[in-house]
């Protein structure tokens, strides 16, 4: 792990200042209670675009700053701390990654500049079941003339409601479970035959189920190689996992600091409860887990930037550890706050609800334990 460059330090500080000022947890709470259709405030996303955060991994040639994943991770961590709701993950992280890795010149030209400006929202549509399983794709893309016809469904697609375009994994051959025969498509959401059902999720963010009925797309909609889309999909997913892990690192760190503060102020039995050794040891263990997880998240992001040979293992490591840590810390946050932590008026519940969703996205702890073991050859 490298220490932050001056540039990165400035980026982190800017993100910290902005989230504190423009998007504290109270803002997310207001958003939730206002029932915002797509789970985020377009004005806020516009601002984030203006701050340059939507283009952190977008090449300079396409109007981005090309700072890389480690840098984007710094922004994601800060937005994670305040539960900032925005398409940063779906678009600035995943959408931009997909285009960088697999986009044609035309696709890049069409989308990357708009992404960098915060003027477009993309969504990655992969899973068709309640559990993450990238190879378990049944959705079909039937060749028709020069183009394809898409039929099938995708579930719990993050930011699909607000999305201008979808990155869709469909099957041009083979059957659910095969890694071969998968092709990715970049499809505008206003294409005929696409129906989106907005979801009301426990974390009050934007997500939707999507039905594709005879959706006609041209050959130019193909993202990357036909038939061999799985390798590209895995690369995109690993970037999604590492970046989301950075957001989770932020959630967990903030949840821990809020709890630590409470331990230092809440009095019971004539003592600040933070003086009770059992709580001290639990806090110290949480801190240990947080420090270990931070190392994994930073290593994964840097491995991506360095195009290292252990990206896959490190991304599974980062996502597994981040899932484990945010799970532990969000539960301890509620428990250590006692009754007040059970109330909707307190933020503990918001962190715990967001935690469970991020744990599940792109594979939880057990998914990545299994993947890590496989990558390590046992």
């Amino acid at each position: 792990m490298a220490v932050l460059t001056e540039e990165q330090t400035m980026l982190k500080d800017a993100a910290k200042a902005w989230t504190a000022d423009r998007s504290p947890v109270t803002a997310f709470r207001k958003l939730r209670d206002s029932d915002a259709a797509n789970g985020f405030d377009p004005a806020v996303w516009k601002e984030m675009g203006e701050m340059g955060w939507a283009g952190v991994i977008v090449p300079e040639a396409h109007g981005g700053s090309e700072f890389g994943y480690r840098s984007l991770g710094l922004v994601l961590e800060e937005t994670g701390r305040t539960l900032t709701a925005s398409p940063l993950v779906s678009t600035a992280l995943i959408g931009a990654s997909a285009l960088n890795l697999g986009g044609t010149a035309a696709q890049k030209q069409a989308w990357l500049p708009r992404i960098a400006e915060g003027k477009a929202v993309l969504a990655l549509a992969v899973d068709e079941h309640a559990h993450h399983a990238p190879a378990r794709i049944a959705m079909t893309a039937r060749k028709e003339g020069e183009g394809y016809v898409l039929d099938g469904k995708k579930l719990f697609v993050v930011d699909a409601g607000a999305a201008d375009a979808l990155i869709v994994a469909a099957r041009t051959s083979g059957q659910a479970g095969d890694e071969a025969g998968i092709t990715l498509f970049l499809v505008a959401t206003d294409t005929d035959g696409i129906t989106r059902t907005l979801l009301k999720t426990v974390d009050s963010r934007g997500a939707a189920d999507i039905a594709f009925k005879g959706v006609k797309v041209g050959a130019d909609a193909v993202l990357g190689q036909t038939e061999h889309g799985f390798e590209l999909l895995e690369q995109i997913l690993d970037r999604a996992r590492a970046g989301l892990a950075a957001e989770m690192m932020g959630q967990a760190s903030q949840a821990f600091e809020i709890t630590l503060e409470y331990l230092k102020t809440r009095v019971q039995f004539g003592q600040v409860i933070g003086t009770f050794q059992s709580l001290q040891h639990r806090a110290a263990k949480m801190f240990t887990t947080l420090e270990m997880t931070r190392s994994c998240v930073e290593a994964a992001l840097e491995a991506i930037d360095a195009n290292a040979n252990d990206v896959r293992a490190l991304c599974s490591l980062a996502k597994a550890k981040a899932s484990h840590t945010v799970h532990l810390v969000s539960n301890e946050m509620v428990q250590m706050h006692g009754g007040i932590g059970m109330t909707d008026a307190h933020d503990a519940g918001l962190y715990m609800k967001r935690a469970r969703v991020t744990e599940a996205l792109f594979g939880g702890e057990s998914f990545h334990r299994d993947r890590y073991a496989t990558l390590m050859g046992f």
Partner: protein, 410 residues
């Protein structure tokens, strides 16, 4: 072959009782109650009890008349006057026909037992029969904003007063929190401070009507979206002198005794688990099965571990009952039950949400199966298991000190 773990001695003396009971139930259990109970059909009774299915009220009235809503209480106070063995038979027979509970009642579970032990004859006559008949719904005025785990630091003031209209009475001012269903309860049993110079010895136990002038209950919205608890405010609430149970400043012993009943009641069936689904069934449906085993072997191992814990817990509750009855005192196993119940139910709910995958992450809407949505709410609700009725930390302190004999830090 019987299942030894649940097999019961069935002395022939009980067979007669079993036969009577069975036929009484056949005659009196309303058939319409056989359909599943709706989410809001919990039979809490009380002045304003209006179940969606009126037969639920009929069922309560019949059971109440038998005293079988409080089977082991003396008949003199409206109870069923049954022995432990007869009660066990009654519960088995109720289970056999999957009867809905006739009454769920803090009065039966918590207040009644301490009234039987500490109240005056007049108080018993006045308060117990309506509890049995489900006519009075009680709530528990214990916790305060500054008195959670450290309950004895409660501050709600109770002063002796005298005036024309009320004669000698108590004047109560202060605030309670986590008062279960205070907004729906008829009466409250309440811990108040009657001596500010002492801690435990300055607490009294009083009963009063929630309709008394100066009482206000504000529901607290929980992370699960429901509001089973209230903040309850007392502003110059007047309480007749004869509504204090036990001696002035003698309330702490009654308070502790009541907490024991509360925990035993919690223990009886753990925390009733989530919202009805079995974890392994949810996993089979949403994770899938390969060669007869759950497709996710990692999750499978953790579910198996939980199921074993849950079974060990059920066996322990049973053992604690038998040993306590045999030794005429609590078995050491009793002390772990609240802590274990909370931990195991929370494990179950976490595994459930994990097994449901994204189906377990819904809040509202038809895109999520209603059963799954209920489990998600139950998961959020379960976080309170290790907080309410004594936190797990306090439970562990109690085990370490009272049962294991470890000393306080100096």
């Amino acid at each position: 072959m019987a299942d030894a773990a649940t097999a019961l001695p069935s002395p022939t003396g009980l067979d007669a009782f079993r036969t009577e009971t069975r036929s009484w139930l056949e005659a009196n259990y309303p058939k319409s109650l056989n359909e599943p109970m709706g989410e809001d059909d919990a039979p809490w009774g009380g002045r304003d009890y209006k179940p969606t299915n009126p037969d639920a009220k009929v069922w309560l009235d019949r059971m109440g008349a038998q005293g079988w809503t409080a089977p082991q209480w003396p008949k003199a106070y409206g109870g069923g006057g049954l022995t432990a063995e007869e009660n066990r038979v009654l519960q088995q027979e109720l289970g056999r026909i999957h009867a809905r509970p006739a009454l769920m009642s803090f009065g039966v579970w918590m207040l009644g037992p301490v009234l039987l032990e500490y109240a005056t004859e007049e108080q018993k006559q006045k308060f117990l029969p309506p509890i049995v008949r489900g006519e009075t719904r009680w709530c528990q005025g214990y916790s305060e904003p500054g008195a959670g785990s450290d309950l004895a630091s409660l501050a709600t003031k109770c002063e002796a007063r005298h005036d024309e209209e009320w004669g000698d009475h108590f004047l109560i001012n202060g605030q309670k929190v986590w008062t279960s269903y205070a907004d729906q309860a008829d009466w409250i049993f309440c811990l108040v401070r009657t001596d500010t110079t002492k801690k435990h010895e300055g607490i009294s136990f009083v009963l009063f009507d929630m309709k008394s002038p100066g009482v206000e209950a504000r529901p607290i919205k929980l992370i699960s979206g429901s509001s089973p608890f209230c903040e309850t405010f007392f502003d110059n609430v007047k309480v007749p002198k004869d509504q204090m149970v036990g001696k002035l400043n003698g309330g702490w012993d009654i308070a502790k005794r009541l907490l024991q009943y509360e925990r035993q009641n919690i223990s009886a069936g753990g925390f009733g688990g989530g919202a009805g689904l079995e974890v392994e069934d949810a996993a089979k449906e949403y994770v899938g099965v390969v060669d007869g085993k759950l497709a996710d072997s990692d999750l499978r191992a953790r579910i198996a571990e939980h199921k074993m814990d849950a079974k060990a817990f059920a066996l322990t509750v049973r053992r604690a009952e038998l040993e306590s009855r045999a030794s005429k005192g609590p078995s050491p196993a009793v002390s772990i039950i609240k802590y274990a119940a909370a931990t195991i139910n929370q494990d179950k709910c976490e595994l459930m949400v994990e097994a449901l995958g994204t189906q377990g992450l819904g809040w509202e809407g038809d895109a999520f199966a209603p059963a799954a949505r209920r489990e998600t709410r139950a998961w959020l609700r379960s976080k309170g298991n290790s907080i309410e009725g004594g936190t797990s930390e306090v439970n562990l302190n109690v085990i370490a000190k009272r049962v294991l004999g470890l000393l306080d830090h100096q």
